[in-house]
Amino acid sequence: MKQDKLNRLLRDSYHEEDYDFDKEYQWNQIQERRNRKKRRGLFFIVFTLGLSIIGFYYQTFTNSKIENLSKRTAHSQEQQLSENSSSNNELCLTYPQVQKNRYNAVLSNALIKEIRIDKYASAQSTNSPKSSIDKEALYTSLNSSDVNTEMEKSNHSILTDNTIAVDQDRKSDSVISNGNLKHDNTSVLNSIGGISSDSNQILKPEESLNLPAEELFEPSTKKTVRKLNHKALFSLQAFSGINYPFSKDIDFISNKQYAKKSLENCTANLLVGWSVNNKFSLHTGIGLSQYNEKWSFRTSNSQNTIIKDVVIARVEKLNGNIEDLKSDVPSVQTISQDYHFFQKYQVVSMPYLAGYHAHLCKQFYINFLAGFTLDLNTKWTGNYINEEGEVKKLSVNSKMDWSALQQIGISYKRKNFGIGFVLQNSNRLNQELKFKNVPNSIIQAGLQFNYSISAH
């Protein structure tokens, strides 16, 4: 069916025909449409990047705003409490402003102003054998400066690490529970918990009296405060190093004499990093890498040649003359040929990396970074060797290629500054360039300088 007359006629009619169209105009149109698509791709990348930066700033801003708000709330509550505490008939307990580490601090700057319990004590006096407690003795005042002393005096002890024990020795101790004073031999006020070193929370007196013992010192605004689980840090990293390009196929010169001379082999990049937490981070930035190499090698080609008039022997004739005996001798002659070629390579890239930092000690840490780089522009100019082994010149300009990037480094950090030695390996993902000696893998070694910026 397919071999019928129609088939032949159709095929012939089409193959013979050459259509007239404006090739140049069509080419321009194609280029324009391709560029438009590229721009659209670039816009998408920039848009995504911008969106993530805005998201990050929004998160940071919201956190700091909440923290400021909680500080302001605490401050206003403290002021209100100070005013209220002027009255002697109220029990005012303020949450201690712990300034040191939560494991070390002991309710410094505590503002337990007055504990007036006389009327409660009298209400309980009939039920307790220790009812003879002097009202005045129970009227305890504690100041921030000498919490421990006062506690000892009144046989109240304050345990660190979120636990307050009240009077374990004295039998007629009082436990503040549910707003009442009770006599108990094992009066321990403990399990307060939730005291944060960086929180300045104040309990309202009315509320605190109605709270159970376990919740007495629970900050009333605890739920509103969103604590940051990490210190959000920016970091700036400047890297500068040397390139070691690896060509996939350089066998063609392996058995020949060659000399390689590297001229400019350097790479530099500037990264902005965001520490997700103490160990993980995200990085992006801009990088420039280039090298310029000159190679030369010598090939030796053998060929048979016939050398004429080679003197084999000299014969002395009878007449006394000496005559040379000549012969055409075939000989193998070696012709050497020198090849010189060069390659220039320049890449402008935008890396997207995720990092993990393993802390060796306080100041030393090892970085592992991995991710991709978007090679915005790659220029390659140089010679390549074709299938016949001939050296040819070519210029390649490639855009929007992807490479995989791995980085390992050891860094020393002091305060905000750091310095480290870094090794990184970049592999072109698109390895379609089949010309020999064009590197698809580059190892870079160099120094990296870090500067950390606290987000708050």
Partner: protein, 188 residues
């Protein structure tokens, strides 16, 4: 056209050119374009009913070609066949997007037996001009069957139609073509 074919046969040069195009060497891309444009345009003209439509397809084909060039594997076959297939797919994709496919049922009472159509007595006719006049569905199936050498099963899969539809459309295309030829002869 023959020059182009000869040029293509020098596969080493073509491969080098393709490799350079993969890496966006503009001069190589232009060279590749100039080399391949007559063939691509011929394909586009076969599937279109006007010059403007063909030029649209032509641009689409080259955009797709440059995009997919890295996917060409020389070990799997000749570049020309791969390119033909890619161009046809690009054109069909365009047609699908613009909802060009309507497998019209143009019935002519005077032509009942498609197999009886004979083309022996027809010479000096510009078939490409006649094919341009065919409805889109007819033209596509005619092209796929005769030029791309697809079977009806393959055509049905490619166009998401029933195999019988493909067969009937081809028969009707031939009938329609015959009718056009007869008309052309009568006007002479």
């Amino acid at each position: 056209m023959n020059e182009v074919v000869q040029h293509m046969n020098s596969s080493v040069d073509l491969l080098s050119l393709i490799n350079a195009c993969i890496h966006r060497s503009e001069s190589s891309e232009k060279k590749f374009y100039l080399m391949m444009s007559p063939r691509v345009m011929a394909i586009c003209r076969r599937y279109s009913n006007s010059k403007f439509e063909a030029e649209d397809y032509f641009q689409e084909c080259f955009i797709l070609l440059f995009k997919k060039l890295s996917g060409y594997d020389p070990t799997k076959g000749e570049f020309i066949f791969w390119m033909n297939k890619l161009c046809v797919n690009a054109i069909l994709q365009c047609k699908r997007k613009s909802l060009k496919f309507n497998f019209t049922e143009i019935l002519d009472e005077t032509l009942h037996d498609p197999d009886a159509v004979e083309f022996n007595d027809i010479e000096d006719i510009n078939y490409s001009a006649l094919i341009e006049k065919l409805p889109d569905g007819y033209r596509t199936i005619l092209n796929l069957y005769y030029f791309e050498q697809y079977s009806h099963t393959e055509i049905s899969k490619l166009l998401s139609i029933a195999e019988t539809t493909s067969r009937s459309q081809l028969s009707r295309a031939k009938l329609f073509l015959k009718k056009l030829i007869v008309e052309k002869n009568e006007t002479r």
